[in-house]
């Protein structure tokens, strides 16, 4: 008799070319929060898909509450009381919360009509019981991403799941929403649920998990008591070598002004002013960071600087040359490099080969195409191979493989390699480490600092405060399209910045005046 709710022993799963799970063990105790830690591609999702019945394991056994079971489909898993919140929600956006929750198990009245009243009541009860604060009558399209996630959680609770699998639940949330999620997980635990948390964020594990199982490249590494092990140690277990969170920067050596923005106004796609009278400048050799919650004008600011949208008013100068009215191409040629926020949308052509992506911005230069307009694929290949080597981009097949087949971290490395190779005057970097694993994050941050040390001007926009704090020489805090203040590195604590990000500017203004005075 075991005292584990879930036991997965010796699970092995082979995909063509990859051993996704190699004799992996997972033992989860009744009523604990158990984290499953590993980098992207470590086999976390595969293991959970096997538990949830989406895949069959090639070998190994699964015991639920001590009994051997065969889980052949998600329906079997539901019957066993296992529920899963996927990273990408499965919600009908123009249905209400309740309609989404009952979808598939609708209760009917005697006449065979949909009985939503009863369902609504039950949803309300569950929401109250677990402190989810969800209104059963809201439409999905009207509520925030964080709320949508709670609806997914409610969906499982409604189906009487007592084992909840949360797949990277914080990936889509803002810092505040993450805090809320953490308290929801604690609440679920207090109410007697068993929770498996798939993540690669150590902070969250420290915050809520009791125990943690670490996977690396498909192999089981260890299961640990979270409170006895430091974040550094967990990171090392996950990556397989010591990880350095602190980044060494050379002393600040400012050069001439590269970018000068004055009274910039930009509208968003709905026609509202998203950027209002922003003025700032960036010098060679510094990283200028913009901290803020998503949706406060950062995206529009980047679009305006790179030429993706028109500006309403104000000027953008690069080395004293007015580029406000220039085309995207002219700006690229003038020396603006751009590592975009959404790398799949703006950064890469996923169906293009690595080589084609590597020259996406300079395919038409003398270097890569001849006078007749014929591309020199041989030279492009050599150039790409050089970048692959220099940036340690892990490719399976080589230059001709499609960019879409790379992992997120390697895709990002490819973009950075391309942009830096263009040796831009100004490098605009947005959310460079979103969704990446620890190893890639460490590498990319180090690269950015290296470029700064070499004397490049860098504009960094990130929703992760910790990233801004550890990389930037100057930090601007943006709220509702305006700067709440610009500060030097170390002038403010994380808390103070967070406070200003949330839009309370009083304190910020005060501070700002103080630095000028």
């Amino acid at each position: 008799m075991s005292n584990y709710t879930i036991e997965m022993l010796g699970i092995t799963k082979q995909f063509p070319g990859v051993l996704a799970n190699d004799k992996v063990n997972l033992q989860v105790k009744q009523n604990e929060v158990h984290a499953l830690l590993g980098e992207n591609g470590a086999g976390k999702s595969t293991l959970m898909s096997i538990l949830f019945g989406s895949y069959d394991a090639d070998a190994g056994e699964i015991k639920i509450r001590g009994k051997n079971v065969k889980i052949k489909s998600p329906n079997d898993a539901t019957v066993l009381g296992i529920g899963m919140v996927h990273q990408h929600f499965k919600l009908v956006t123009n249905y209400t919360v309740t309609e989404n929750i009952v979808l598939g198990i609708e209760s009917k009245t005697k006449l065979g009509l949909l009985d939503l009243k009863k369902a609504e009541k039950r949803v309300k009860e569950l929401s109250d019981q677990y402190g989810l604060k969800v209104n059963p009558k809201d439409k999905i399209e009207d509520i925030s991403v964080g709320m949508q996630q709670r609806v997914e959680i409610l969906k499982m609770l409604y189906r009487n799941a007592d084992i909840l699998i949360l797949d990277e639940p914080s990936a889509v949330l803002t810092p505040q929403e993450i805090d809320d999620l953490m308290s929801i997980i604690r609440r679920l635990k207090n109410e007697g649920k068993t929770i498996i948390l798939i993540t690669h964020k150590l902070k969250e594990i420290k915050a809520v998990a009791d125990r943690c199982t670490v996977l690396r490249r498909g192999k089981y590494i260890d299961t640990i008591e979270v409170k006895n092990v430091s974040e550094e140690k967990m990171a090392e277990m996950m990556v397989g070598r010591p990880v350095h969170f602190d980044i060494e920067k050379a002393p600040l050596k400012l050069g001439e002004t590269v970018l000068n923005v004055e009274k910039l106004q930009v509208k968003d796609y709905r026609g509202h002013l998203a950027v209002q009278n922003l003025s700032f400048s960036i010098k060679k050799g510094e990283i200028f960071g913009i901290a803020g919650v998503d949706g406060n004008g950062q995206t529009e600011l980047i679009y305006a600087l790179t030429g993706l949208v028109h500006t309403e008013a104000g000027t953008i100068k690069l080395h004293d040359k007015d580029i406000t009215k220039q085309s995207i191409k002219e700006r690229i040629q003038a020396g603006i490099g751009h590592i975009p926020e959404d790398r799949h949308r703006h950064g890469l052509v996923l169906d293009f080969s690595l080589g084609e992506n590597a020259v996406l911005k300079n395919y038409d230069t003398k270097e890569f195409s001849n006078n007749l307009g014929v591309l020199q694929y041989q030279i492009i290949s050599e150039h790409t191979n050089k970048l692959i080597k220099e940036y340690d981009i892990r490719v399976g097949e080589g230059v001709s493989q499609k960019a879409g087949s790379l992992s997120g971290g390697n895709q990002q490395k490819l973009i950075i390699a391309r942009e830096v190779a263009l040796s831009p005057e100004l490098l605009i970097v947005a959310q460079p480490t979103r969704g990446l694993d620890v190893g890639a994050i460490e590498y990319i941050r180090k690269r950015l600092v290296e470029e700064r040390d070499k004397g490049r001007a860098i504009l960094l926009i990130s929703f992760e405060l910790e990233e801004i704090m550890s990389l930037c020489d100057r930090i601007a805090i943006i709220s509702k399209g305006e700067f709440a203040g610009i500060f030097n590195e170390g002038e403010l604590t994380e808390n103070e910045i967070g406070f200003m990000m949330a839009g309370s500017q009083a304190k910020g203004r005060l501070k700002n005046e103080a630095t000028h005075g």
Binding site: P16, G17, R345, D351, F352, K361, Y363, S369
Partner: protein, 388 residues
């Protein structure tokens, strides 16, 4: 090169089908023929009649009479010419992410202009037909380019615009052609000899088929298509725009220009098809009563050919073969409708290709065959050293 070939052979059929569009197309065509064979059996006829007809089209050999009729090969090629060109038209736009339903209209514009030049241009040998088809292609380019311009500048759906342009082309063609002196309700006077694409040499070697000089332009078109798309800067811009418009734009690629250019080039292929049909297959100008349908069949041709130059040429030849085989099938007591059914089946199967792939992927996921597993581990082991 040899190495990769070997590796490919070792891959299981499943992975091969998943990775190669070409292999999937061949499979789909074979399934189409299989269904057709079953259908013929069900209606109580002998399927060999169909295959005999196909053999005769492909090689000229008639099994029953044990004789060669080279004319059929010529007819087959002549029949395939407009299909290949309209396939290229559809395919070229598709590579830029556009759905060109307008090949039919661009083709009609090509016919109309070629007919006008054939009748009114001075009768200079070679220059006469050459300018006729050149301007046919140009007219098609303008017809397609208008849609490209509307799409790029004003975001007018190219699907709606091309369908409407098809109607305009058809009725405009009737109005113009009817005004040619001597024209009646269905035809104009004969073209002068200098306007015709007929070649006594080609007719001689194919025993009097309709095969004509147009074939040179078809071959050139296939080569140009391949060269532009695969080799040039412009092709790079077009493909980038087709795959990911946003990334292309953010990288400074002129997306608006790409869209206009692609529709214009697509139109040029279809216009050329019109020119070749009107001066190659007919000796007089036609007052069109209805669509010839090559433009629409071109959609299917491009689909089966995966929008590649060579694939579209091959698939055009397949469709041309089917329509040339129709009369022969009739004489072998196979209803000619069978060929339409094959075409339909092939298109449907191509359309559910994604579904096929999902089935293959599902089978691989759920229960990887032992054989496949060992093959794959072997493969990765062998591949490792070569990539280091």
């Amino acid at each position: 090169m040899d190495k990769t070939k070997k590796l490919k052979q070792r891959k299981s059929l499943g992975t091969f089908l998943q990775e190669s569009d070409g292999a999937m197309s061949v499979l789909v065509v074979l399934i189409g023929f299989l269904f057709a064979t079953l259908l013929i059996l069900i209606i109580g006829r002998n399927p060999s009649g169909m295959y005999k007809a196909i053999l005769q089209v492909l090689t000229g050999y008639n099994v029953d009479r044990n004789r060669f009729y080279v004319r059929y090969i010529g007819e087959w090629l002549a029949q395939s010419m407009p299909l290949i060109l309209c396939g290229l038209s559809m395919g070229f736009a598709a590579r830029v992410g556009l759905f060109n339903i307008g090949a039919e209209g661009q083709y009609i514009v090509g016919i109309t202009v070629a007919q006008l030049i054939a009748i009114f241009f001075p009768q200079i040998p070679v220059a006469h037909w050459f300018f006729a088809i050149l301007f046919a292609a140009l007219a098609g380019a303008i017809w397609g380019g208008i849609v490209g311009w509307l799409k790029a500048k004003y975001e007018v759906s190219e699907v709606v615009a091309t369908i409407m342009m098809n109607y305009i082309a058809l009725y405009l063609s009737r109005i113009i052609t009817l005004r040619i002196p001597g024209a009646n309700t269905y035809r104009t006077p004969n073209f002068p000899q200098t306007a015709l694409l007929t070649s006594s040499f080609l007719q001689k070697i194919t025993n009097g088929s309709r095969l004509n000089l147009g074939i040179i332009f078809v071959v050139l078109s296939v080569l140009i298509y391949w060269f532009i798309i695969e080799k040039t800067r412009t092709g790079f811009e077009l493909r980038a725009t087709g795959f990911n418009k946003d990334a292309a734009r953010a990288s400074g690629i002129p997306v608006v220009k790409s869209i206009m250019l692609s529709m214009a080039i697509a139109g040029a292929f279809a216009g050329l098809a019109g020119g070749i049909v009107s001066l190659g297959a007919y000796k007089y100008g036609r007052v069109l009563a209805a669509n010839d349908g090559y433009g629409f069949t071109g959609i299917a041709v491009a689909l089966v050919g995966n929008n590649t130059a060579v694939g579209t040429a091959l698939s055009g030849l397949l469709f041309g073969m089917l329509s040339t085989a129709q009369p022969l099938m009739e004489s072998n007591r196979i209803p000619k409708e069978i060929t339409f059914i094959i075409q339909g089946l092939v298109v449907i199967f191509i359309a559910i290709r994604v579904g096929f792939r999902m089935v293959v992927a599902y089978l691989a996921k759920k229960a990887p065959l032992k054989q496949e597993k060992t093959l794959n581990t072997k493969k990765t082991q062998e591949e490792m050293p070569t990539h280091e």
